[in-house]
């Protein structure tokens, strides 16, 4: 209890004490008491009235100077008021700064609510997405950006990467749209103009595809003559070895061109692979047979099919992905090694793994092995005749099926490549039995 309160209590006590004494001395005790209570009430009522009048128009009036208990309360209100005003001003200043800085941001930013309604957007977003200030606040973003691919991106809710879509309103502009969830259910949508990048990307892909295509014809001619020459009995013995080497290298060039074309075809045909049912078991047995027949060194290749389920996807792409994995395993597993191909399904989806007891991959190379032409050991992979594009093809084909590639490897002991397919790509075996 602070001083003001003790003083106020003491004052009330003294007033009542005086009333009691006066009543006892002069008689008429009730009247004295009633008089003191009435005076006390009046004092508080007057102060209440002044407080109320001041609160009603406190922006204009000075606070009433009452002192005592009421003065204390008024002083506290003034303090609260001042603090509130300070915070408000600080907030307004911050907000203004935020608006100014967001206006010059090179990326478009849109704040969305839980139900995808637009709450706020900056000037860049307005320009990029052709939004109308004020009018568009409260509208659902997917009502304005109606590109089906973007709507699917929102529905699927996998926001780890942006989606690149053409925005029709600006005539051929390509935007990279990236949703980042924040707080409780809020979402930030970032928009960036990537028209130039995608043009360059398209140019590059086209160039690679055209160049490989153009190179194929002369190469076929060269290979044809090399074949004829090799079979020519009139050819001197000294030429046999060089000719054989020339044929091998021409074969390799052909393989590289084939893989380059395959890769650019994968890149060119949209983001999602088709929906035809693919019999994984049958496909893997065929690939195993190929591997057993073609590999020059004898070794054990086992196949364990633990599921009858099928996959929804493009058969040619899946075949190319699995075949590349198996060929890699064959290539890097020494004589006497083992290769196991496995297909199984569970709650997380479908999985295909190719495990070998080969030379393995050093850990520092693992993150980069799916890059084009990336070599762990340049000398060795050339000798084994790979194109350097196999894993890049695997990665692209899997991406188009929404699948992921997992690589576990230990140097000298072997590697395991596992493809994880999402559950919506798996057609359960029971349904197949019914149909």
């Amino acid at each position: 209890m602070n001083f003001t309160w003790s003083f106020a209590l003491a004052r009330a006590g003294v007033a009542f004490g005086l009333a009691l004494i006066a009543g006892w001395v002069f008689g008429g005790m009730p009247w004295w008491l009633a008089g003191v209570i009435a005076a006390y009430l009046c004092y508080h009522l007057v102060n209440l009235f002044r407080l109320n009048r001041w609160l009603a128009s406190r922006a204009l009036l000075e606070p009433p100077n009452t002192g005592g208990l009421w003065g204390d309360i008024i002083a506290q209100i003034v303090r609260l008021e001042r603090r509130k005003r300070y915070h408000k001003q600080r907030f307004i200043r911050m907000f203004r700064e935020f608006r100014r800085s967001s206006a010059v941001m090179p990326d478009g930013v849109i704040m969305l609510t839980r139900t995808r309604e637009i709450q706020w957007f900056n000037r860049t977003a307005r320009r990029l997405l052709d939004l109308k200030p004020k009018l568009d606040v409260g509208l659902r973003i997917d009502n304005l950006i109606r590109v089906p691919e973007f709507v699917r991106y929102l529905d699927e809710g996998r926001f780890d990467a942006p989606v690149v879509v053409p925005v029709h309103a600006n005539g051929g502009t390509m935007l990279a749209l990236h949703v980042v969830p924040y707080g409780e259910g809020g979402q930030l949508l970032f928009a960036r103009d990537v028209t130039r990048q995608s043009q360059i990307e398209a140019l590059r892909t086209d160039f690679v595809a055209n160049a490989s295509h153009e190179l194929r014809t002369p190469l076929t001619v060269i290979m044809g003559y090399l074949d004829t020459l090799a079979d020519d009995p009139a050819l001197g013995e000294a030429w046999r070895a060089p000719l054989a080497e020339m044929r091998r290298q021409a074969e390799r060039m052909n393989a590289i061109l084939h893989d380059l074309l395959e890769l650019s075809r994968l890149e060119a045909t949209g983001a999602r692979a088709g929906d035809e049912p693919v019999d994984v078991g049958g496909l893997l047995s065929l690939l195993r047979k190929d591997a057993v027949a073609s590999s020059p060194r004898p070794r054990e290749i086992t196949l364990s099919l633990e599921s009858q389920a099928q996959l929804r996807g493009a058969a040619a792409e899946l075949e190319s992905a699995f075949s590349n994995l198996i060929q890699n395993a064959v290539r890097y597993t020494p004589e006497g090694g083992r290769i196991n191909i496995r297909w199984w399904t569970d709650a997380a989806g479908g999985h295909v793994s190719v495990a070998d007891t080969g030379i393995g991959i050093p850990a520092e190379h693992l993150p980069r092995i799916t890059e084009r032409f990336y070599r762990v050991d340049r000398g060795r992979s050339r000798a084994t005749g790979g194109s350097g594009l196999g894993l890049a093809i695997v990665k692209h084909a899997l991406q188009r099926h929404g699948a992921e590639l997992e690589v576990v490897s230990e140097e000298g002991k072997g590697s395991r490549f596992t493809c994880h397919f999402p559950p919506d790509r798996v057609i359960a075996e029971t349904r197949r039995a019914v149909g």
Binding site: D136, N143, R146, V147, P148, H168
Partner: protein, 240 residues
């Protein structure tokens, strides 16, 4: 107190229903826009594979129309909307019919694109069709934007573009006739081109119809078969 809360609840669910069906319409619109764009691209770039894919996907547009139609009937039956809400439902039912027709015309273009891809391409590489296609795509886009924003003024602006689409149509028609007279061997191709241009012109008309439904939805005024200038004066008088 309790009844007030209940009615509030009902109207909120109703709003959610309306909002949901509107979003479905716009999703359908987005899909139709993409179909149209792809169909024109297939034709201009001679990509028969893309043309076939577009023609096949028209089925999805029809499915969307049926599902939205059912949803509208359900809302009409269970909520018995009045005034503005009723107008929204009526406008939606009409809009999806036009969107479905746009899809059909797109299918037609895609189908012809597949056929034209195997023929020799003209020297102008279908530049006129590309231009007209861009114009029509923009009309459809603008009409759907006006629908999303309930923006009657934008709707009038888009509807006005129909005139320039019609002019373009006439000029390509005349050009085709000239080609046919100069060289009778091009008649087959020119006839196909005529079909495409005709389809694009029809799409422009459908987009204009959607704009009229937007005006109806916002102001409750039926502006079909009315001159655009008159509509604009009318809207200005209402202080829009």
């Amino acid at each position: 107190m309790e009844t007030a809360d209940l009615s509030h609840h009902i109207s909120r669910r109703f709003n959610a229903d309306l909002e949901g069906v509107r979003t479905q319409v716009l999703a359908m619109g987005g899909f139709v826009e993409e179909q149209l764009q792809k169909a024109v691209t297939a034709l201009v770039e001679g990509d028969s594979g893309l043309g076939e894919a577009v023609a096949l996907d028209d089925r999805k547009v029809n499915d969307m129309e049926i599902s939205i139609d059912e949803e509208c009937s359900r809302i009409l039956a269970t909520r018995a909307p009045t005034a503005g809400d009723l107008r929204v439902i009526v406008a939606i039912i009409k809009t999806i019919t036009d969107l479905e027709r746009i899809g059909d015309e797109g299918e037609k273009i895609a189908y012809i694109a597949g056929r034209l891809a195997s023929m020799e391409r003209p020297t102008d590489k279908y530049r006129e069709i590309k231009h007209l296609g861009r114009q029509v795509e923009q009309m459809v886009h603008g009409a759907l934007d006006a629908f999303a924003r309930m923006d009657a003024q934008a709707a009038v602006r888009v509807a006005r573009e129909d005139r320039s689409v019609d002019e373009e149509y006439e000029s390509i028609q005349r050009q085709c006739i000239t080609f046919m007279m100069e060289d009778p061997r091009t008649i087959r191709r020119a006839l196909d081109v005529m079909w495409v241009v005709r389809a694009l012109e029809r799409i422009g008309d459908h987009a204009k119809n959607i704009c009229e439904y937007v005006i109806y939805m916002v102001y409750g005024k039926d502006v079909r078969h009315t001159q655009l200038d008159e509509i604009e004066r009318d809207l200005a008088a209402r202080g829009a």
